[in-house]
Structure formats: C-alpha cells, structure tokens
C-alpha cells in the first residue's frame, strides 16, 4: 500500500498533546503546517541538514518532554553525521521520522541516495539508536514517539508526489518567540541571567 506524506504526518501529529515538533527544510515543513500550524512547531526554512540537531538541542534542554523531528530524506542525508552525535548523547525523549519519497522534492524531484538503496534506518541503527526501522505501521510509530525509550529513528516510505504548498510563518524570530512562550511561559521573555 502506498502511503501519502500529508496523511502520514497528519496521523503522526493527531492528538499530539505536549509533543514538541521540529520539521526540516522543504516539504516536511509544509507537511506539519498542513496538519495544523501550532506554536510548538518549529518549521525550518533554511539550515538544511540541521533538523536532527535542532531536535537534539531541544531534547537535551527539555528532557521531560517528547521531541519529534520530521524531516525528508534529502535533508537527513545532508546531516548524516548528526546521527552519530545523537547516538553518543542517547536522548531517550527524541524521535526522528524521515518522510522518504526518495526525491529532492523542492528542486525538480531528482532522485536522492535512498532511491539508490542507501538505508538510513541502517545508518541510525549502526549509530546506536535504540529503535530504528523502515516502517509503514503508523500506529506503532505514534506510540514510540510518545512513550518510546529513545533515541528512536523511523523511515516512512511515501509516494513521490508534488503537492500544493502549505506555508508556515516565515519570520524566524516570530517562530522562535512563539515556540519559547508556549513552552517556557513568561520566563521566555526574562533575561536568562542577572546583569
């Protein structure tokens, strides 16, 4: 059965509760926005390759909250070293999900390395992720995201399709501030040390 990226992301984010969500540059930022823009979403509009590391920083700063990074295969390939870095840190509250259409979707649907057989779940497993699988079982994945003893990694293969853009806010400072206020409350605006 072929899965479609927007339905996959919508299913993963349904009834998300307190989940903190980072999305990688490109289609996955549009996907999480199509599922419903939210203050605790941080969609990246740049910094290709850094989605997993933004997730790691968040997971280390907020060890009691579940953190989900949703990114594409091209974005993950650019930051493959971060899988080794996360493997060393072993954040139990972090899950990475790669929405894998085997294409660079924003630039003309050129094939990525995963179209040629590169196995990202295999790389993550070798880097020490506690759970790492290519899966189509979204129900099981939802439970891993919310309860799993991570770090967790999943690849979900989806159809290569060009979809209408659903764009999140573009202003990086505004995205950061709404996220921090939603997560940290009033202390987000307080200076972090005495002067």
């Amino acid at each position: 059965m072929t899965l479609h990226r927007r339905e996959v992301v919508k299913t993963l984010l349904a009834e998300r509760g307190e989940l903190l969500v980072v999305a990688g540059l490109g289609s996955t930022s549009w996907d999480i926005t199509a599922a419903g823009d939210a203050p605790l979403n941080f969609p990246l509009w740049g910094a290709m390759g850094q989605a997993a590391m933004v997730g790691l920083g968040l997971a280390l700063a907020q060890p009691k909250r579940s953190v989900l990074v949703i990114t594409g295969d091209g974005e993950m390939l650019m930051g493959m070293g971060s899988l080794a870095t996360i493997g060393v840190q072993q954040p139990s509250n972090l899950t990475l999900v790669v929405i894998d259409n085997e294409r660079y979707g924003e630039t003309g649907m050129q094939k990525t390395h995963t179209a040629h057989g590169v196995d990202l779940a295999g790389v993550a497993r070798a880097c020490g992720f506690k759970y790492s699988k290519t899966t189509s079982s979204l129900k099981a994945l939802r439970s891993i995201i919310h309860k799993g003893a991570g770090p967790n990694f999943a690849v979900v293969k989806v159809a290569a399709e060009k979809l209408p853009l659903v764009l999140p806010p573009l202003d990086g400072v505004a995205l950061k501030e709404r996220f921090r206020r939603a997560l940290l409350g009033d202390s987000a605006d307080v200076l972090s040390q005495k002067r």
């Binding site: 390759g49 590391m53 920083g57 968040l58 700063a61 971060s82 870095t85 060393v88 950061k176 972090s192």
Partner: protein, 167 residues
Amino acid sequence: MQPDWPQEVHRALSTAQVRIVAYVPDAGHQRLIELCQGDRKMRSVVLTTEEEGIGLACGAWLGGEKSVLLMQSSGVGNVINVAGMLRTCGIPLLMIVTMRGEQGEFNSWQVPMGEATPGVLQAMGVSVRRASRAQEIAPFVADALRHEQATAVLISQGVIGIKSFRQ
C-alpha cells in the same frame, strides 16, 4: 604570569548557567573541554562537524538553554550557511574559536581559512571579539553571554601556542 584562561572561561560559562557545551576538539581547547566534561551541571556534546553546533544551539535555545560552541578557525568555514539561522531567528550562541594560520603557523594549509575567519563570521552577522592576550578571553566571554547575541571570541594563536609537528 599567564592567567589560567580555561579556568576563567569555565567559571564565566558556569556563572552564566551555560549547560550545553558543544565542541569539535582543538588542542588549544583541550583543558577547557576537560573542565566542562568534569562539570556535572554541563552536558558536553562532541560533534562530527561544527555545523551541528548551530542546529544544537538553536534547539537548546528553543528549549530555554544557552549553549557554547568550541572549535578552531577551520571550523568557521564549515558553519557558514547554517549560521544564517542565528541571525534570522535571533539565537544567542557564543562560539569560542582558537585561531590557526596566524603568526608562526607551520601548516600553510591552515592559512587561508585562518585569514578569512573574522571576515566570514562578520559577513554572516556574527559579532567578533579578538583576544590577543590570555587575560582578555574570559571578560569577552562574559560580555558575550550577557549580551545574548551571536558572538565569536577569537583566541589568537599567540595565546595558545604554535602546534608542533615534532611530537
């Protein structure tokens, strides 16, 4: 007597409640890295490339924590594109950069990036402070942590000493 700058910088990081210390090692940072690793209130994060420190800093700040990135000047070249996020999102990352390619450098391959380091940082909107004496380092670090802006403190090769290839 030379001031013990790694100890002073560690104290400044501790005072500012920096809890996440990311690094790609440099011989000049060895002692500071060890002090941070030995501090139970700090989480040391070894990176595969300096770029990862930018993403990490962004995520940590979203979660309410300050971080610092320790690297040598060659690493500045590795962060250029993603450093744009610091400015676009207003992320207050402190980078402490040990310089290579300056006076007395043996390895000429270090010279181009060493020469370009301050210009590259400034071109990406990162404030640059150059410490040419050991006693300047910790005060620059403390200032940068107070100002909560993307700042790089460059430590001259003269302070660190020249890497020897005779060992």
